[in-house]
């Protein structure tokens, strides 16, 4: 019966009250716009630019932005920064997105199980969450990154492994508050399995908070990738990422500041977009802050 209710609501989800509230949220709309701009630039841009991201234009090394053929200048090897920025964006956005998918999955499963069973299972799992939160995330990420093969897939996995805890906490709290509701009792009386109740009956009610948390997790994951790649333990060259484009930029800060400034703007734009969208979704999906 919950499923029926959900279906009724989601029949015209684009027309729902939440969506309208989201569309009225100015910052969120700005976030959506910036994100569309960034992703389409990263997808189509490289085909439109004159230079390939790996082409080495030695005579044009260290060109400043807006001066010659290279729109955003070149790096110490004479590679086109605009082309590299867009290719790097593909990697950074994909790593951020898939790290979010994975950490949301881990966090949701742990949160639902902990919240639903309660008791010992709950305290065991939630203490595990607390213990993971005790490690400063950059320390944990760097230690893991130094010990593994730093392929984009492994980087995605370790980012997910270090950022599922928030979602687990949110989901656990929600499930706890729903556990004693009539539809769960009815499900038990019908003889539905625990797995069915947890993931088919309870989970659909948690979509709102999970989407909000997941959006903010993308922002966090992009930042984490940037941090460890900047420090040299993330995505490895020649594969560009926003973080590793900044690696080594510090030594040229006096002579070629654009090397540091350009990728940083891209990271900030991407992360800000996701944070704005997440904020808008929270306002739109959370009935408690409904001003209407």
């Amino acid at each position: 019966m919950t499923a029926a209710l959900i279906q009724q609501n989601s029949h015209h989800w684009w027309n729902s009250r939440g969506m309208k509230r989201f569309a009225r949220h100015r910052l969120a709309m700005m976030g959506v716009f910036m994100l569309l701009l960034l992703t389409s630039a990263c997808i189509f841009g490289p085909y439109l630019l004159r230079y390939d991201s790996l082409y080495i234009d030695l005579p044009a090394r260290f060109s400043a932005p807006f001066t010659g053929d290279h729109y955003l200048g070149t790096d110490p090897l004479g590679r086109d920064i605009a082309a590299r920025l867009l290719m790097a964006g593909r990697i950074s956005l994909l790593v951020g997105f898939f790290a979010m998918v994975l950490s949301t999955a881990i966090g949701t499963v742990i949160g639902v199980v902990a919240g639903y069973y309660g008791g010992t299972v709950n305290s065991l799992l939630m203490r595990f969450v607390d213990a993971f939160l005790a490690f400063p995330s950059i320390f944990l990420l760097l230690a893991l990154a130094a010990f593994i093969n730093p392929s984009p897939v492994m980087i995605t996995i370790i980012i997910a492994v270090t950022s599922w805890m928030e979602i687990a906490r949110i989901v656990e709290a929600e499930v706890k508050s729903l556990r004693e509701r009539d539809f769960v009792l009815a499900g038990r009386m019908l003889g539905l399995s625990n797995v069915h109740i947890m993931f088919r009956e309870l989970l659909p009610n948690l979509i709102g908070p999970i989407i909000v948390a997941a959006t903010l997790t993308v922002a966090r994951a992009i930042l984490l990738e940037a941090y460890i790649s900047f420090l040299g333990y993330g995505i490895q060259p020649p594969l560009p990422s926003w973080g590793n484009m900044l690696n080594g930029a510090q030594q040229y800060l006096a002579t070629a500041p654009w090397l540091a400034i350009v990728p940083g703007i891209a990271i900030t734009m991407a992360v800000t977009s996701f944070n704005f969208i997440g904020d808008g979704l929270r306002d739109a999906l959370d009935a408690r802050t409904d001003p209407a």
């Binding site: 490690f135 950059i138 320390f139 010990f147 941090y227 973080g243 500041p257 900030t268 992360v271």
Partner: protein
């Protein structure tokens, strides 16, 4: 209070055990495990490696190895740095002060500025100031700390020449003023994210307090707005901030690592990265465990202080 103290202490110890298990698990992820330090020795053979493994007790069941490792950890035997053969704990100890100095000064800045922004935003809700602060906080949380550091160095060190671009003191100087001069930029950089977080929480906390009955009563009695704000509102709003400060400790340590790298600040974060570069796993593992223990300790202290001030917490 005694009951609360015991309960909270028990929680911390349970967490410490789980934290150490996670640390032990990561230790066994290292290439070659704890043996890796010998693998690079010239003339090393498989037989010698096996013998060392036996001597180190690495062929015993994992739970026994864990207990052994944890017991040595408890006794303060954290292993020896590969790089300079010094005990790990004393290596960490030598880098602690610089990190604490950086974290403390940035926290002072963050609390002062964040509290001011938060209260002003709450008392002037939906004003231009409030709106700018809200958006500004979200943008501040989206800026990579190291990039903010690089931009700061570019503007204030390279272009304007006002502040040093790195290090904790000038060699041959080392006066208090010299330390402070070097401290300004890194602590501002590290403070940015925390100003954003503190101002958001302070705004919410102030809004919570500002509409409560005792504030209305004070206002009805004719107490001045300024006094209400300073005494009743700030006092009550600051209480949850103690817990928040404890909760922010892991992020503060992460931020310190990044900031120290950009500013060649000789603290634990810098040590962590240098040790990674030298494959100095005992120090890396030591710092990982040390930072987690520091966080547990910080949270414990924050909770105890909050409980000492507010009886509602210890009775809950």
């Amino acid at each position: 209070m005694a009951g609360f103290l015991l309960r909270r202490l028990g929680q911390s110890i349970a967490l410490l055990i789980i934290v150490s298990m996670i640390g032990f698990g990561i230790l066994h992820l290292t290439p070659g495990g704890p043996l890796s330090q010998y693998a690079l020795t010239p003339g090393m053979t498989q037989e010698t490696m096996d013998r060392i493994a036996e001597q180190m007790g690495l062929n015993r069941p994992l739970p026994i190895q864990y207990l052994d490792w944890a017991w040595r950890l408890l006794q303060g035997d954290w292993g020896v740095s590969y790089r300079d053969q010094q005990p790990v704990l004393s290596v960490i100890g030598r880098h602690m002060f610089a990190t604490f100095l950086l974290m403390a000064s940035s926290t002072v800045i963050a609390i002062a500025v964040g509290t001011w922004i938060g209260i002003k935003g709450a008392t002037h809700r939906y004003s231009l100031f409030d709106y700018t602060a809200t958006v500004g906080a979200m943008v501040a949380l989206s800026i990579p700390t190291f990039w903010f550091g690089l931009v700061g160095i570019y503007i204030f060190s390279l272009e304007l020449g006002w502040l040093p671009a790195g290090n904790m003191y000038t060699i041959g100087d080392g006066s208090v003023l010299d330390y402070l001069h070097h401290l300004i930029l890194p602590s501002l950089v590290l403070a940015l994210v925390n100003i954003a977080i503190w101002s958001r929480y302070m705004r919410t906390a102030t809004l919570d307090v500002i509409n409560q009955d005792f504030v209305k009563t004070a206002r009805a009695k004719g107490v001045s707005e300024r006094r209400i704000l300073m005494k009743h509102v700030v006092g009550n709003a600051l209480l949850p901030m103690i817990t928040l400060a404890g909760m922010q400790l892991p992020n503060l340590l992460s931020g310190a690592l990044i900031t120290e790298t950009v500013f060649t600040w000789p603290g634990m974060g810098r040590l962590f990265l240098d040790s990674l570069g030298y494959n100095d796993y005992p120090v890396v593992m030591g710092l990982l465990m040390f930072s987690a223990i520091l966080v547990l300790l910080g949270n414990l202290i924050a909770d105890l202080v909050a409980a000492a001030i507010d009886p509602r917490i210890r009775l809950a």
